[in-house]
Amino acid sequence: MQYAYRYAAPSSFTEEGRPKLSLATADAGGAAHPYFFEGRLVRPRLVADLLTAVHSIVAARFFTPANSVGKAIALADPVVTSGGGLLRFEGFSSCCSAYVRADLLPQSYRGDIVGKGTTNVDFNEPMRAALARVRDDAGLEFAVGLQEFRLRSSNADVVERKVELPTRWIRGMLEVQSYQAGMSRLFETPAVEALRFFRTLPKASTSKTPLWIARGPNGLFATTRPVGGAVRVTDSSRLRVLHALLPFARSLSVYADDSQQANAWVVDFGEARLTLTLSAEVWRGFSGEGQALWALMQADSGEVAATLARVRAQLQWQAALDAPALARELAVEQFVVEDVLRVLGASGLAGYDVFAGSYFHRVLPFDLSMADELHPRLVDAKALIEAGAVKRLRADPFEADVASGDSAYRVREVDGELRCTCPWFAKHQGERGPCKHVLAAAALRPAAN
């Protein structure tokens, strides 16, 4: 997918007089240049380090598929969201296996949030290089976007940069929100302890041997065996971006979903946070996962569909979307609102803050009209249903035959879970979300189940 970033002027760092970092913004297509923030940073060096970390992940490719030339993808620019007093900068690695977000909390700045919304932000090379020179003692003025007046009066050249944005990149950005929503905190550790431990991790990639990192009486340790309360990590080099940040942090919290298919590392600085979310394997980009498929499948029918529009009407760039409060306000069950939020996350209309444990409103600045098409399994499952390919054999335990191409696969319920005889399910055992046959068959499953 060809995508053009069009900024009215490049992001810049000026050192004359009082140092100032101005980040240029642009919406999809470059028609508008939102103006979000003007003020001064409390810890300039920390913010510079956080923005550098975001760029490090965006510029990283932790995996190049075999038999394919590592296609040089022009880097996608990070996304900034302003809302609820927070400025959030998000990015995604080009291999789609790592997601990063830096959250600047209100106590990290002195100034005004002057606008709300989500947009792209220009991370050009000179501006990134200038971040390396930021020092706390010199102070730093900070702006996200330009005032309309200054935009007009600026004689800087328009910056236009076309990038080839693969659909899997956008798909990954959507999918990672569903993963995060299913995570729970495994442990929290002081930053000093985390730093000491991280320095013992191998520098070389360990992508072939998953490590389980846990906290024991002697602090953090890594093992190749699954142990209780541990987080599973492959290729610890993906965590290297945190090394430079930990000396200035308070704590590190680690989150993972129940089946350890993704994990999130949140570094807390008090006035800011950095969230790094990793997929189970470097070769498994978030784009290929299917955690959101169940929710998206429900989006067209039933109570979720009925509530979706009502929840969307409530979205006002909140920093935290409170599901119980929304449920009360809309007079629906809380689980329905939670399902709706999951659908919104998978549609690019909400992000998930794993530290706060809640969704936040933001609209990814891409063409989201084809969000459904970004999930091939969902499209295929709907096609199977439309073609009448699903034949229910038994209601309880549920069993169905699904004709797919010239093959018929059996979907059956075992211990409450649906299993399929297709190669995809055989390989992943449902860990990467349901296959298209399971999704299609589930539509015919009795409602009670």
């Binding site: 380090d49 550098t52 040089a72 090379e125 990134r128 290089a129 971040l131 390396a132 020179r133 020092r135 003692d137 002081p190 000093v192 302890e193 730093l195 000491r196 320095r199 013992t200 191998p202 070389a204 360990t206 072939k208 041997t209 490590l211 846990a214 024991g216 009486p217 002697n218 602090g219 953090l220 340790f221 890594a222 093992t223 190749t224 065996r225 142990v227 090394h243 430079a244 000396p247 200035f248 093959s407 018929a408 696969y409 059996r410 059956r412 299993r419 005889t421 297709c422 190669p423 399910f425 055989a426 390989k427 055992q429």
Partner: protein, 867 residues
């Protein structure tokens, strides 16, 4: 214009470049541009034909396209009629763009420089020619810089290329353009660092730029400033490293350094390690030449104290120490700034920081901060940090509780009910099981379940065939050995077809394990034809391939009742998989068996003496010619020689450890994880031969010279709680603890921790192996120190075992202790202090005679002073 396009196509087809140009000369510029679509179409057609011809050498393209003349002709047309991007896409460096451009002044000249360089940076020579001829403007930005980067290596590699100096003569503007290369980070393929890394010094940019500096092309000040500009950008270490090295090559004078003093001080805050190293060196020189303002220095050094590089933290401490001696009033502030260095893992660094803190009079806030750093500080420094903190700091973590709850210190019964492999009972399970094995080649238990079920479900009913049909589509794509054999077995059941060895697939090319699996499956094909619906004798009843003897007795009884004859391999494999059992009746019955029970296996199973594991257990052993039963690791009567192929000293140790046992070192499992794991299941009760293969595999690749990921299968087996680790398994751990690949050494650490907690390993034997390997120069102290430290982090109860292993390790070469012995001594001191343990007398004796200098000598002294 169809007639013109047609004429052009005819001329191109004829390969007549002059005719093509003749047609184009007679057209107006606008008419030529209108022909673009036709020309591009032709160019694509010819390009496709050229690709076809290169794939079908010696043949003629069906439509007669793709000749060299046609290519030449169409390229000329593309230059005249196409756009800059068309020229970049369809022309090559052989196309004379310059003369065509001079004659026609085509529209393709707009943006041609950028387009050519974006398509291939080494088209820079054509771009330079066009610039010199005044046909295009000089490109700008990163695209041009990438092109410039290729100039010098290309000129050096190809004599026909003009040199950089020659190009500068032709294009004086190049002098100002060349430094663009120093302004862009580049990427893995094209950056100053990447280009210079794989070139001989004479072809490196660093040397050329330096010589240009000496000849006055560029001033020293200009290049130094450009270098510092690049270093300030904080590019990744590899790319920044080129500039650090270039700076060293330029060797700025004291005066030049002093002029740029603030810039060097600023570089101390860089996130890039080589840059900080450079800055520290320069700042030291500057400070020695003329003392730097102490407050400025303190502020600049602050970021270095968070560095992970020990030498940099130490250098910064020394610099600050000098400054504080000059300005003692800053001592308290300096004390606060160095506290982050306590996060460093080195006890040395921590000690130096604590000594400075003790001298620099830290304030209350700084002392309070020490509590955050106290947990995890080296045991040797705990008293010092407690004394400094003044107030009670967090007590060290309890050091007796393991991080992972250890099971009871005894090996579990391999026939434990939790390890039972349930047979597949239903068609649904069978379909899922076979599909699973097709996609998961390394699960041998599931493979055996699926194979046994396929045999048992034969002959397949109509319903079974219908359900298994979708899997048949997958069969041709299942290529891995273990799942591949299952796929071929399924195909045989469904179609009756067998795959015979052919030209591209020879039995002798398979690994021993794969060969055995192949023959077993072939035998089972015959078996299902004559005895359908039976459970193969060798089907495991428990994980790792074990068969419960009671179950085997039942199977044999069933065979006898039904008058069935098992296959030779099936019978042999069943015996090899038998587990010891505590049931005396079953054992008695088994001992009463002789080869006659297995009528078909009569030739290879005999009652015999008591030399090998099987004979001591069951009263008989397998005696067979190796070509019939080529299972290394089992004494088959003919394979009793230990092969010493001394590629690594490990073999000598193996020979010692073998202690008369037969441990053949063939690469049985080959280069496939599934096959190695299948090999492990062939004789699950005596894995010494298997682990001997593992020892060889790891000893040959200790430095990870070859990416042999499959070898980790040997280590996986060490984790089984029912496995008592014998001499070869212990030796495998000893070697794997010191391998370079971090994933494999981590697995060895886990095997050690778990085996010790479960009482499955003889630590004394491990200690002797480690010493022997170190003495033979096979392994290094540094890697052992790292692995054993990791083991201690996982389980503090490893302390006594570590003291024994470390004590033995330092005894490897006490007369000429290698430098990295200090890593072992440091760990030994840490364990002894943290756990309040005394050193064994032998270890003290070794320390007494040890010859070691520097840090090692200091540690030796501390160890000897321990109570």
């Amino acid at each position: 214009m169809p007639d013109k396009a047609q004429a052009l196509e005819s001329a191109v087809r004829e390969g007549d470049r002059e005719a093509v140009l003749g047609i184009l000369r007679n057209l107006e510029p606008a008419q030529r541009e209108a022909l673009r679509a036709a020309v591009v179409r032709l160019a694509k057609r010819i390009e496709k034909a050229v690709t076809w011809l290169s794939a079908n050498r010696g043949q003629q393209e069906p439509d007669g396209w793709g000749t060299g003349e046609q290519t030449h002709a169409v390229q000329a047309a593309v230059v005249v009629c196409g756009t800059a991007r068309d020229v970049a896409e369809f022309t090559s460096s052989g196309t004379d763009i310059r003369s065509l451009a001079k004659e026609f002044t085509p529209a393709s000249l707009r943006g041609l420089g950028e387009a050519l360089l974006e398509s291939r940076p080494n088209r820079i020579y054509e771009v330079q020619e066009l610039i010199v001829a005044g046909l295009i403007d000089r490109p700008q930005g990163e695209t041009y810089a990438r092109g410039l980067l290729t100039l010098w290596p290309e000129a050096h590699a190809h004599r026909y290329r003009p040199s950089v100096e020659k190009l500068m003569e032709l294009d004086p503007g190049l002098k100002d353009a060349l430094p663009l290369m120093m302004e862009f980070e580049g990427d893995g393929d094209l950056s100053l660092a990447a280009v210079d890394k794989y070139r001989a010094p004479a072809a490196q940019w660093a040397l050329l730029l330096h010589s240009m500096c000496e000849h006055g092309t560029y001033s020293r000040a200009f290049l130094i400033d450009k270098t510092l500009d690049a270093l300030e950008r904080g590019w990744p270490a590899f790319r920044s490293g080129w500039f650090s090295a270039f700076h060293e090559m330029l060797a700025p004078s004291a005066e030049e350094l002093a002029q740029r003093s603030p810039r060097y001080l600023g570089l101390l805050g860089s996130r890039i390690s080589p840059t900080v190293k450079l800055a520290l060196g320069v700042v030291k020189l500057l400070d020695q030449a003329a003392p730097i303002d102490e407050r400025v220095l303190l502020s600049a050094l602050r970021p270095v104290f968070t560095s992970a590089v020990k030498a940099q933290v130490e250098a910064a401490l020394r610099l600050l120490d000098r400054a504080i001696k000059r300005a003692p009033a800053l001592a308290t502030e300096a004390a606060a700034s160095i506290v982050p260095a306590l996060a460093h893992g080195s006890a040395d660094v921590q000690e130096q920081v604590l000594m400075k803190l003790a001298r620099w009079n830290p304030d209350t806030a700084t002392r309070a901060l020490l509590a955050d750093y106290s947990p995890g500080i080296a045991a040797v420094n705990r008293d010092a940090i407690r004394a400094l903190a003044g107030a009670p700091v967090a007590a060290p973590a309890p050091e007796s509780k393991p991080a992972i709850a250890a099971p009871a210190p005894c090996a579990r019964d391999p026939l434990d009910s939790s390890l039972r492999v349930a047979p597949i009972e239903t068609l649904d399970e069978l379909v899922e099981g076979v599909a699973y094995v097709f996609e998961n080649d390394t699960d041998i238990d599931e493979f055996e379940r699926a194979l046994a079920a396929l045999v048992r479900f034969s002959p397949l009913t109509g319903e079974a065939r219908e359900r298994l049909t979708p899997l048949m589509k997958r069969v041709p794509r299942v290529k891995k050995p273990v799942s591949g054999e299952l796929a071929l077995f399924l195909r045989f059941l469904m179609t009756g077809e067998r795959v015979e060895p052919g030209i591209h697939w020879r039995i002798e090319n398979l690994s021993y394990a794969h060969r055995e699996l192949y023959f077993r499956c072939v035998e089972l094909m015959d078996f299902v034809m004559r005895s359908p619906g039976c459970v193969p004798l060798a089907t495991p009843t428990h994980r790792r391939g074990f068969i419960d003897p009671a179950v085997l007795m039942k199977r044999l009884a069933d065979y006898q009742v039904r008058g069935l004859k098992p296959g030779v391999r099936d019978g042999c494999q069943a015996i090899l998989r038998l587990a010891l059992t505590a049931n005396p009746e079953v054992m008695q019955a088994l001992r009463a068996l002789d080869g006659n029970v297995f009528e078909a296996a009569d030739a290879c199973i005999r009652a015999a003496g008591k030399r090998d594991a099987l004979s001591t257990r069951f009263g008989w052993r397998i005696v067979a010619p190796t070509d019939l039963w080529p299972l290394p690791g089992v004494d088959v009567g003919l394979n009793s020689q230990i092969v010493i192929a001394d590629r690594a000293g490990a073999h000598r140790v193996m020979a010692e450890r073998a202690e008369g046992r037969s441990c053949v070192q063939h690469n049985v499992g080959g280069r496939d994880e599934g096959c190695i794991l299948y090999y492990a299941s062939m004789l699950p009760d005596d894995m010494e031969g298997f682990f001997a293969s593992g020892v060889v595999a790891f000893a040959e690749n200790i430095g990870w010279w070859e990416a042999r990921w499959y070898d980790r299968a040997y280590l996986k087996q060490l984790l089984h709680p029912d496995l008592i680790l014998g001499p070869m398994a212990t030796l495998l751990i000893a070697i794997a603890l010191a391998v370079k690949e971090p994933g494999q050494s981590a697995m060895a650490v886990d095997a050690l921790v778990q085996a010790r907690a479960e009482g499955r390993i003889d630590v004394s034997l491990l200690a002797r192996d480690v010493r022997a390997l170190l003495a033979g120069g096979v392994t290094t102290c540094a890697r052992y120190a790292k692995s054993l430290q990791a083991a201690l982090r996982i389980d503090v109860a490893m302390g006594p075992a570590l003291i024994e292993v470390l004590g033995s390790a330092i005894a490897a070469r006490p007369e000429e202790a290698p430098k990295d012995t200090s890593a072992l001594l440091e760990l030994l001191l840490e364990v002894a202090l943290a756990q309040g343990r005394t050193l064994p007398a032998e270890t003290r004796n070794v320390l007494e005679v040890m010859k070691i200098s520097g840090k090692g000598a200091a540690l030796r002294g501390k160890l000897l002073r321990l109570p």
